[in-house]
Amino acid sequence: MKTIEQHLDETAEMIRELSKEVPNRRWVEPRGRTRSRVLVAVAAAALVLVAIGLPALFMTGDDPSDVADGAAPSQNTETTIATIATTLGDTVADSRPVDVEEPSAPEEMTLDGLLSVLPEGFELDSATPIFSGTGDPNEVATRYLEDRFPDALSLGVGVESSSASSSWLLLRWAWSSIEESGAAGYLVLLEHDGVVDVLAATTDGVDLSGLGLVDGRLSGTIATTNTVGGLGADVLDINGQPVAGSPYPEGVSPDSAFRWGTAGYSDQGPLAIDISPITEPVTVRVNLVGGTLLSISEVGFSPTG
């Protein structure tokens, strides 16, 4: 009779033999994964903040205690934030390698236009935050992007431009050095009492308006016309863990390691979600995937009553 160690050794040998059937691939240096590009972008951003952002802040005459006291930022502060964000975006854009395609020009951002791709009933004053932080809204937005994109730092996703009202802020996010992407979108931020909430993230071409939470049932479809990657979605609790009933890829059994649903590419139809009961706040997080996470579309839902 064989011992457990013998069983392990024999089956380990089988695994090693099977691994030989995985075809050999010659090493090809990954593009856009070198450190120098990141350092250039970081150095440029730091220089811009020091050379332009800080003097501009002092020139506005804003009282920093406004923020410390939790008051809404003045228009001058918002203008300064927008200036920093725009200049930062330009500087990062200028650091792109010459062989990288320029991303498409940012679409004109309007809140109404953005609401059309978010679930019906999404309202700024009652939306469930998907991320919160303190400090400059652009910094909070950057922290959000870094949290959601595993390759944010090495591939350079960031804020490109912004538009603000007295309370909300729209930020355009985009990749700065990922040539095949073109994925970009907006973040909706709300500032209150010194806290900046990210209320929603959108991606151009990805439509979340078909989703809804009614009587504890989260259902609907996520559609995309964006062809840069596969479409994946997850429904997460407040701890970031998939809730029971999270979508799974087609043809994959729920007991596999998969936790995401994916509809493949845009010509393979929308991704359906149907989960009930929803008794706690959840987040629907949607990504285009191709080589890495390419985009973020995200919105929260809270059951009422």
Binding site: T11, M14, V22, G232, P249, T292
Partner: protein, 177 residues
């Protein structure tokens, strides 16, 4: 008698200053086997190995002079495989590639004894899974396992013993000769 594979691994636990291309050629296949053993994901095994090798490439200037770059890359792989988030990303990436009809090598289909034994291994606590895989897939001794995981040799000894006891009970197999 030492197999070619064991000899290859041995080389990279002792040789420094090697070229990355050579390191890649020698390490890729053992890393795929290790990735499959700890993750159980046929579709993600190759990408897990590739991710670890890309990380090694990016840190090559730092790790090439180490006595054991093979230890470094295994630690990266095991951490990535243990991260549900990273694993999810890697798996979906493979699915996306599959959906686009790009070549998906993947790990060959696994059935029978491998499934039975290693399915049970993957039900163990994460550290024990890693130790069993390093001990049996890579053939590392307790000192090498301790070095790879950054823990003491005594801890490795204890965990390995418990892991084998648990497996023997679960699989109704004799523990030792």
């Amino acid at each position: 008698m030492t197999s070619d594979l064991e000899a290859g691994i041995e080389d990279h636990f002792t040789v420094s200053g090697l070229s990355f291309e050579f390191f890649y050629e020698q390490q890729r296949q053992p890393l795929i086997a290790l990735a499959y053993a700890v993750s159980g994901s046929r579709i993600a095994a190759e990408d897990l190995a590739q991710e670890a090798l890309v990380a090694a490439f990016e840190a090559w200037d730092e790790i090439r002079g180490k006595d054991n770059p093979g230890t470094w890359v295994r630690r990266i792989l095991l951490n990535q495989a243990a991260s549900a988030y990273r694993r999810k990303l890697i798996e979906l990436r493979a699915v996306a590639r599959h959906a686009r009809d790009l070549p998906v090598a993947g790990f060959p289909e696994v059935t029978g004894e491998i499934d039975r034994i290693w399915g049970e291994v993957r039900r163990l606590p994460r550290r024990q899974v890693q130790m069993i895989a390093l001990a049996h897939i890579d053939g590392l001794n307790q000192v090498e396992i301790a070095d790879t995981l950054g823990i003491s040799k005594e801890s490795v000894n204890t965990h390995l013993r418990r892991a084998r006891q648990t497996l023997a009970r679960a699989l109704n197999i004799e523990e030792t000769t």
